[in-house]
Subunit: 205 residues, 4 copies
């Protein structure tokens, strides 16, 4: 019977294959993590191709993002740590890098508002299409700690739940109770991003 | 030799895999049913992922939609029941949730009219491209009985045959003599929806 | 060793699978044929699903299109016969039914002119991008003999070679020395149709 | 243990399959090469289908492009030779022929400038999205030696590193340390080309 780390690693490997087949993590972009019951994280090693991950491409870090083996984690690890610190019930954070997310982040400078879509019900806790889901857009920044602080500040100031955020020119982050729920969120976001991009300039929101 | 319920369930499972591969039932959206010869329905259980259905994800309900086992059917079961009650020769109802159907339902507030397409001949009983096929658009509603009554009222008032309808922001419903014919209708609708979306704003109908 | 009919039938079956995977023969649309050395034709039976053809879905007709077994050929058989009669070196005719072909046939009422594309060199006999390839557009017609006469008349009047034609709202026809060359022509046409559609309204030709 | 030529040939065959599945080398378009440690090149034979290459479709030429066996190399071999002569560390040159590259080369007459994309970091040596990557566009020319001289002249005159170039109506060239790095460059370029095409006319750069 595989241990908890190996199970989560296998889920992240399979998630990478799925996301790559959809074109959502091209050219080594993207990074993925899952939280173990002791608070440590399984996370993708820096620079690996996400469509062809092997167990060697997943490493162990502590809850602050400090490596517990001799590999180097994804540069954006502090964005994962920020989410886990804030939301106790979250056990997976996935960062895909799709064309639609990239395009929307260049067309909306502050946020994207999704409404009147039945598929909003795919987000944990949403029960009707008659609601608004805000997706904030953050400026891209190679200083990831500073970017993580921006995200934290936004979440402190906002009073509505969010299910993911965009980084300008850089894909999006989403999270969930486990890898499976997080993948459902990605499928929903990608569908809605595609709708929004194709409606852009056609109807006003 | 499998019984009738198991045969229909196998067809719905395979339909789910097919529709999911095309991106038409993302993130647990969509629902499917088939009518048995005794009038009972095989229908997808609520909230399951339509691309990875197993026999356990298909349940039995009576002709009014009342569960005959201890599972919970798709919330939209009354839309299936309305079609079966109205059309004796119909034995399958499929509800995919595609990007093109969603977009068209936001661009057309009452109906979409399809004409001059050879592929209209894919709909049962149509023999020439020189005809009009109307696809009504209904407002989305979390009260499914009320929505089913809207559909019934439209069908009572209209004098032309329809092969499917859109629900705003929520995909479309189509039906057929069996699962195979219904899948042919879906392929035809998706092709025509793609054409209409890409012609939108380019030529006037 | 399979006979000539069986070999050609196997090629048409494989072509159907290939074209269907690309979405170019949805919902039983399209039809395919190959000419045998004795002048008879192997052609798809009417109404079959082109992505799931079996040997039973390919039948034998004579050079005028008269069935030599008890099946019913594709309704558009006279369009195949017209091409074989006219061009002695042609041994395959394929009719896919793609979104891009359908859209272009509604945007261009007489013809589409392709130029300045390196990929024009994929057409048999073209050696440079510095040329024009005209793709005529014919009005759709359920009277196939009349439509075949229109095509014949166009070819009699025109002095430039053509490699395929569009039927309004109804896909396109192309042909070649054998099935393999005809598939290369389809790949080239589909690529060029996609380019033309996406440039439509963006640059003037 | 396979020799160096066979290893490189296997990588080019696999690259062809990958690129063809994405629709980036339709209808026998495209050509690929890899440099061996003795300076000779493994390169695709002229006119072969790039999605179904076999070892017989890869041939050996010397560093000037002269055939070392009795096959005929891709007509564009001098474009490969120019890159290898100029950049000692480059060991693979791939030329895909995608729709997006073709479209952009018709919309931009001199060059395309990519900026503010995180994915620019996929190019060897780029460490931040805060940079500009220029992709020059050369006029198409059936005289490949003249075209290679144009490329050489551009590279002599320009002071910034480039990672690939477009030929009008004719796809693009990119290169890398090995086949794997070059494929990463293609994935990044295709993603960025798709973004640029879909933003064209929507925002000004």
């Amino acid at each position: 019977m595989p241990d908890e780390f190996s199970q989560r690693a296998a889920e992240l490997i399979e998630a990478g294959r799925f996301l790559y087949q959809h074109g959502w993590v091209p050219a080594t972009s993207g990074n993925f993590s899952a939280r173990l019951s002791n608070g440590n994280l399984a996370i993708t090693v820096s620079g690996r191709h996400k469509g062809r991950l092997t167990p060697d491409d997943i490493m162990l870090v502590d809850s602050a993002g400090k490596p517990l083996d001799d590999k180097r984690p994804s540069a954006e690890i502090q964005l994962h740590v920020q989410i886990y610190r804030r939301y106790e019930h979250i056990h997976a954070v996935l960062h895909p890098h799709s064309v639609n997310a990239t395009l929307l982040s260049r067309l909306h400078s502050h946020c994207l508002v999704l409404q009147d879509y039945e598929l909003l019900k795919a987000f944990a806790g949403i029960g009707s299409h008659e609601c608004q889901v805000t997706v904030p857009v953050f400026a891209n920044d190679q200083d990831i700690s500073r970017l993580a602080a921006e995200v934290e500040k936004y979440m402190n100031d906002s009073h509505e739940p969010i299910f993911g955020y965009l980084i300008a020119g850089h894909g999006f982050y989403t999270w969930g109770r486990d890898v499976e729920e997080t993948l459902r969120h990605i499928e929903a976001f990608e569908f809605l991003f595609e709708c929004e991009m194709r409606l852009h300039g056609v109807i006003s929101p």
